[in-house]
């Protein structure tokens, strides 16, 4: 299983994402100027300030050569995860619904926050069953840092309604943790097809006890399980196959 991690001028968290991915699989950086995805099974669009976030966060990155390939990869059902700035890029590229607006407090804000896993059977959460480092009760509550100034998730009412209906809201800020003013406490979403994901918090910064938490590791572990469970199947099968894999993932997590 190989992750491709994009690198734009202005990316800041790409090596952190590379390291996180390498804890569960193989991973390589993909330069923004090249269209070759180097045979990646899944793509991570990392955090940072791609192209200086000029114009609007993520607005320029979506037009880069590598993004052309990522968009095609996604349309073919390839697994794509956007983190923070990457989430903004995927929204700008219309691979994900909605948009990210400036935080309600209008300031860059860094906090360790709690996330509730709303959809546990997606390609980025199927291994999160018992990842909560603080034990059973918080089995689907992840402690992960968030740091951004444009993180307020927004979409119009009909879109939000259909997203909720289709289970496209994957992660929510736990009660009291929604500092950026996101609608319906939405922290992470997926597309209708279930192969493109975006979240504002940084799972790649929660993969090592030494630096605070390991709750983010299950996001990357889930991606590996989804890919390996669907190599032979159809992309949308990420769910169906994911279920059988999840049991195993659950045991894996349970040993922690």
């Amino acid at each position: 299983m190989k992750f491709g991690v994009l690198r734009f001028p202005g990316s800041c968290d790409e090596v952190d994402a590379l390291d996180a991915a390498r804890r569960v699989g193989d991973a390589e950086l993909l330069w923004h100027g090249q269209r070759d995805l180097k045979g990646a099974d899944a793509v991570v669009v990392p955090g940072g300030f791609s192209y200086g976030d000029y114009l609007r966060a993520g607005a320029i990155a979506r037009f880069s050569p590598v993004m052309e390939s990522v968009i095609a990869f996604a349309r073919d059902g390839g697994l794509v995860l956007g983190i923070c700035n990457g989430f903004q890029v995927l929204c700008e590229a219309h691979l994900l619904p909605g948009a990210l607006l400036p935080n309600a407090n209008l300031r860059f804000t860094f906090r360790q926050i709690n996330l509730d896993v709303v959809e546990g059977d997606t390609a980025v959460t199927c291994a999160c069953g018992s990842a909560g480092s603080s034990g059973e009760q918080t089995a689907t509550r992840l402690s992960i840092p968030a740091k951004h100034s444009w993180g307020r998730y927004h979409a119009d009412a009909p879109t939000l309604a259909s997203m909720e209906e289709r289970g496209q809201v994957v992660l929510r800020y736990a009660p009291g943790e929604n500092f950026n003013g996101s609608l319906r406490d939405i922290a992470g979403v997926r597309n209708e097809h279930g192969n493109v994901f975006g979240l504002m918090p940084h799972p790649e910064h929660a993969v090592d006890e030494l630096t605070g938490s390991t709750d983010g590791l299950c996001i990357f572990a889930s991606m590996r399980m989804a890919v390996e469970g669907t190599r032979t199947g159809t992309p949308s099968g990420a769910h169906g196959e994911g279920h059988t894999q999840r049991a195993h993932g659950g045991q894996a997590g349970a040993r922690v």
């Binding site: 800041c12 699989g25 860094f110 006890e209």
Partner: protein
């Protein structure tokens, strides 16, 4: 050279900040009257900012050598050996006057400048810290000021809508935003810092930024130009008219009140710097550079001249080849522009193509603008026509150095702070007032605006420990930031567990770490420049000890007022003496630093003398880094070290409106250093649950901070003569809260015991056996235990029981403590 242009006069020289004598000396060095280009370049390189005219002789007395020192003062940054073939480069620098004029850009470009200093020697920046000073913000929520705050605000500003502290609040808000804007956008974590609010900084705020980087030892590069005939190449942003005269006019003179100096403040672009940083580091990785230098104050003029001076060569530059962002710039403007995000390097002619290719990859401009020569001259051409030529030595080394005329003032130049807390108050009121005071309240509202974790090295974040702790990782993927994680590993439960335990590191393998602290309490230095500076250095080392780190090296930024005034010269001289003595005793040599003088507003008078100290240390295993918060209910609490608290120049004394004392009690540096070693080893051995250095606000505030840090209460009982090292006169024994005067400031009264300050005190918790064991290394008083949801301190009852002054009890719920400690939130609401 075309002599058609009319030559500048001595008046022009004076306008550029030179003295008549200096102008005459320049004419002598030139053997003729300097033209406009030459005079502009001399005026910058002979400015206080570039030439250290008033401080160089003092700085020569500092210890700069030690077993760990890899690069000492003189280069863009100092560097110390941190093991495994890696070095840590670090330096602190000020951007005070630009920030007082335009706080957002001033602070942002301050961060940009210090980061360039780090990657200019080939190190990847891994952390930023900041040290800020502003006038009083007049917090409404401050328990103490709440009583009088209201009408005072009206008086001070003539009832102006702004209200008291408005300017300080504005400067704080914009400076913090500027630091965050630059550091967050460039992917370097801001892991720590400090801020104090004092009247003397009202007109002249201080914004100091410190950066750390790591590099493989053989990757380090110097700025010394070499190789006659080699190409001088400028890369990065294009050159405009911003920041012209910043070093001379702005940085080397007192701030006037009405003059508008905004045009001399540079404008920064972190995205340009991010590309410039990645580009520079990749150029070095491919071994394409002979030498590298950043462009900071005085732009091309100082960069080129210093490269030539260090390499003892000459340099020719053709300004017509410099990429410009503005039309019709004069040659002298191009030479002195302080446009940000630019680097200058020396390249062998054969490598120029490869260098420009990498610049293209990173979308960074690059242009060959000059040549290394054997003339010993700094020559400036404009499209081939010579427009200026100066001996490099005259420019860089021959600026006259001035002797200071130090004289201790007969009386302190600083007015007593406004009394915010009545003398007649209970210990509980005093504790809450201190916790909610601007200098002690939680810094969370500030550091929450900074990314503290990017690069995945941050083992201890702000408020988790006294010093920031960063894991040292080998430089990995394209030197980006270090990770040595291997390829694919099977997703088994074990693999997931292994990954959680630290991925690359096999469980049980130590993870070496770097600890860093920055400090500098100006009020103490104002009371006693020598002891106050010693205390600041010791506080940094104590912070390192609390996480288990041993000092490797020191950097410093000397922020002082006008050194031509005898009392300021005295402050500077005494402070540097204290800095040297403390660094020698700690074996933490000074590997770099910066001096910022003339920090005084026209009417406001001098700032507190403020030596800001930055110290870097090493931990053998970051997994055992200490924490400041209480960790386990049932743990025993002890006070360790040669702690002799006194109220002079303390935070409580400030709230009470006391005058600054003339001098502070002497400090036994060696004894404090020995205690730091004992604490450090106990932390490394995992013998302590928590370790916190007793600082501003004294013991009671330290206890509150440990409770809040661990969300655990504590029960503590303190005998009246706890710190009665010095026999107290009978009068002083009377713990009458209304009767404490400056005269008895150093007497161990109830107030002195609870809120007195002094070097060498630690508040530690852990198993009783471990704490007793520490008693064999240093003084240890067992004073209580951890537990519950409240802090209870039974205060000293005077030994000759007098009912009127009987024992007092402080009892505060964690919620009450947290509410008071959160006082700064209103500044960013």
């Amino acid at each position: 050279m075309s002599e058609t242009a009319t030559l500048p006069t001595v008046e022009d020289a004076l306008a550029l900040g030179l003295t008549r004598a200096e102008y005459e000396l320049i004419r002598e060095k030139q053997g003729r009257t300097p033209n406009q280009v030459e005079l502009a370049m001399y005026s910058l390189l002979w400015s206080e900012h570039c030439a250290y005219k008033h401080s160089k002789k003092l700085l020569r007395t500092l210890p700069t050598d030690g077993p760990s020192v890899v690069m000492g003062p003189g280069e863009n940054a100092g560097a110390v050996d941190v093991g495994d073939g890696l070095v840590c480069a670090f330096k602190v620098e000020s951007h005070n006057h630009p920030s007082a004029v335009e706080p957002f850009q001033g602070a942002a470009t301050g961060v940009g400048g210090i980061l360039r200093d780090i990657f200019a020697i080939g190190a990847r920046p891994i952390a930023v810290l900041d040290s800020l000073r502003f006038g009083e913000p007049h917090l409404k929520s401050c328990v103490a000021s709440s009583r009088e705050g209201g009408e005072r605000a009206g008086k001070e500003d003539g009832g102006g809508a702004a209200g008291a502290g408005a300017r300080s609040r504005y400067l704080l808000d914009r400076a913090v935003a500027g630091i965050g804007h630059y550091g967050n956008s460039i992917g370097v974590p801001t892991v720590g810092g400090e801020v104090y609010f004092e009247g003397p900084y009202e007109q002249n705020c201080l914004v100091n930024a410190m950066a750390l980087g790591i590099a493989e030892r053989e990757q380090l590069i110097t700025s010394a130009a070499a190789g006659i005939g080699n190409t001088v190449l400028l890369f990065g942003a294009s050159t405009g008219r911003d920041g012209i005269g910043g070093a001379s006019v702005l940085a080397s003179a007192e701030l006037g009140e009405d003059d508008d100096k905004r045009p001399t403040v540079q404008v920064g672009d972190p995205f340009e710097e991010k590309k410039l940083m990645e580009c520079s580091l990749e150029l070095l990785q491919h071994g394409l550079l002979v030498s590298l230098q950043d462009l900071g104050a005085a732009g091309l003029t100082s960069s080129a001249s210093e490269m030539a001076s260090k390499g003892e060569v000459g340099i020719d530059i053709d300004v017509a080849k410099v990429p410009l962002r503005e039309a019709d710039m004069e040659p002298f403007e191009i030479m002195v522009s302080e446009s940000q995000e630019r680097m200058l390097c020396v390249v062998e002619p054969g490598n120029v193509g490869a260098v420009l290719e990498l610049c293209e990859k990173w979308e960074v401009g690059g242009a060959a603008i000059g040549t290394v020569t054997d003339t010993g001259q700094m020559r400036v051409f404009d499209a081939g026509e010579l427009v200026g030529t100066m001996p490099v030595r005259a420019l860089v080394d021959d600026c006259p150095l001035y002797d200071l005329q130090p004289a201790k003032p007969t009386r302190t130049p600083y007015p007593a702070p406004e009394a915010l807390l009545p003398q007649k108050t209970t210990p509980r009121e005093a504790l809450l007032a201190l916790l909610s005071s601007a200098n002690i309240a939680s810094r969370r509202p500030l550091f929450e605006q900074y990314d503290a974790i990017v690069q995945s090295r941050t083992v201890r974040r702000p408020e988790q420990s006294d010093a920031a702790v960063l894991a040292i990782r080998p430089l990995g993927e394209a030197g980006v930031s270090g990770f040595s994680t291997s390829g694919p590993n099977p997703l088994s439960g074990a693999a997931l567990e292994g990954a959680r335990a630290g991925g690359s590191q096999a469980p049980g393998t130590p993870v070496p770490g770097i600890a860093v602290s920055i400090d500098g309490n100006g009020r103490r230095v104002a009371a006693d420049p020598y002891s106050g500076t010693v205390a600041a250095v010791l506080e940094c080392a104590s912070n390192l000890a609390c996480v288990g780190a041993e000092p490797l090296g020191t950097t410093n930024n000397l922020n002082f007022a006008n050194p031509e005034k005898p009392h300021v010269a005295w402050q500077l001289t005494e402070a540097v003496r204290g800095l040297g003595d403390a660094c020698r005793a700690l074996r933490a040599p000074v590997v770099g630093g910066n001096v910022s003088l003339y920090n005084e507003g026209a009417s406001a008078g001098p700032i507190y003398p403020t030596p800001v100290i930055g110290m870097v240390g090493r931990l053998p295993d970051a997994r055992r880094a200490g924490r400041l918060g209480f960790a386990r209910a049932g743990d025993t609490i002890a006070i360790a070290g040669p702690f002799a608290p006194h109220l002079g120049a303390s935070e409580l004394a400030k709230l009470w409106g006391w005058d600054l004392p003339d001098g502070l009690p002497p400090i036994d540096i060696e004894e404090v250093a020995a205690t730091q070693a004992a604490i450090r080893e106990a932390v490394r051995a995992g013998a302590l649950s928590s370790a916190h250095d007793i600082a501003e606000g004294g013991l009671a505030v330290a206890l509150a901070e440990c409770c809040l840090g661990g969300e655990l209460g504590a029960r503590v009982s303190l005998p009246a003569d706890l710190f009665g090292a010095e026999p107290a006169p009978a009068t002083g024994r009377e713990a009458d809260w209304s009767g404490i005067s400056a005269a008895s400031a150093s007497v161990p009264t109830m107030a002195g015991t609870l809120f007195g300050e002094g070097a060498g005190g630690f508040l530690i918790s852990g198993g009783e056996r471990e704490l007793h064991a520490l008693g064999e290394r240093t003084q240890v008083w067992i004073v209580g235990s951890v537990g519950g949801q409240a802090l209870r301190i039974d205060c000293p009852a005077p030994s000759h029981g007098d009912s009127r002054t009987g024992g007092e009890r402080i009892e505060c719920s964690l919620a009450d403590l947290a509410r008071a400690h959160g006082a700064l939130a209103e500044l960013f609401a």
